[in-house]
Amino acid sequence: MNDPSWNEPISGESRSAATDDIDLDRVWVNVAAEVWRRHPGRLERTAARLLRSPGLARALFTTPSLLLPWLIASAVVLAVGALTQVGAGQPLVWLIAPAVAAVGIAYSYGPGLDPAWELSCSMPVSDRLVLLTRGVAVFAVNAVLGLIASIATLATHAAQPTITAQLTFAWLLPMTAACALALAVAVAVRSAIAGAGAGVGAWLTLVLAHSATDYGATDGAGGVLSAAALTSAITDANLYLPYLAVAVCCAVIVLFATRPQRGLL
């Protein structure tokens, strides 16, 4: 067929005649289904197989995009803390990190992290599992950022005796306790703000109260607000077990408060 005119629609052929029994809308939907289809990455496909739920895998993998604003905010705050000097050169990272993390974890409950949160609560996929996983993700992000800031300051201020290795890492324990408390309150009271307030408030109260009773510990030169006094909440090994106990208790509260019969809302 060399004559191209055979291939052109002939003017006599109407567009609607002879096609009454053909559903072009249905054809288009089938075409669009393939064209608009999303192809999940290999990680997501593996997760879907392991968790036996493509929905749960997808929910977990959207977490990074939801966490991005939180990541940026936390990074900024911790960078500021690392750069600020107090008294004899103590970085504020260890003071800020637990508070920042507590706020973040509290807001993984409710629309703070997930804008379509109420709708997500009406889904068959376990909202509790998604909440817990997102909470853990927020914690991990803050832990990593805090460690980076902390180690950076340790490296640049290695000469100063008040910045010890203990200070660089020990804040992770009170951070865990503060986060567990924040999430427990948020879930029990059904309010992210309440959780954030509880976590930050408890941490600040502890820091101030402990430094008031312990201000002579390191250099004795200052009062309650000296850098040495403020670090006592982290350096005092007597507190480690209580921190752990608080974390465990609050974790149990979270699990109980999110039990299926009660729901999240």
């Binding site: 669009a32 289904a33 608009w36 929905g55 379509a116 109420e118 709708l119 609560c121 009406s122 809302l265």
Partner: protein, 251 residues
Amino acid sequence: MNIELTDVTRTFGRNKAVDGVSLAVGPGVFGLLGPNGAGKTSLLRMLATVLPPSSGTVRLLDKDPGRPAARTQIRRRLGYLPQNLGYYPSFTVAEFVEYFALLKEMPAHQVPKAVAAAVEQVDLGPRAKARLRTLSGGMLRRVGIAQAIVNGPDLLLLDEPTAGLDPEQRVAFRTLIRDLGQRATVVVSTHLVEDVGTACSEVALMAEGKVVFRGTPDELTAQGEGHEIGDSPLERGYGAVLAASRKQVAA
């Protein structure tokens, strides 16, 4: 009966948002009318299994949502559009609808076609790959409707679905819910009386947490005989019933 509520109450602290509501609803379009604060949203949240009742029994699709396994089964057959949906700005229309199709545990091989059909049904085909942050309020509402219908639900709950839709889109919406109501129970909660009056086979009016009227739109119109306030017969009926219920509360 897809919905069976018996003396359901929901309190928040000292506030009784829903006060002793009993309803039985089968297939068809059911309108839930009432002023803001009447308890419609709390009632809808209980139907969406998002909120448990403080007292009374709820049965949805012949199952008890208080039991976790049954609740999961109900949720697979549910479509819900909350009053404030919230969007993921970086998602496209198709991605957003697909996300909830997956969360509703639709079989993965059915998802692409269901998503395409839902997007086309709300007339957002030309925007399927547009990011949600580029859409207007009315379009976002339609995205919300699309995710609610994507799994062909037996129970469809729509809270203020026509917010931001222009008149032509409202007509299309009414046609859509009439079609869906052939086989499923569609509950539309709205404070705009005319919006759904013509599409509903039955309406209920809520005030102060109680159902003060239940019947057909025509019966509601009949209540409005002689009532002055309202631009249309249905609105007059609505106003009359509300006024009567307020008098009863005051007495």
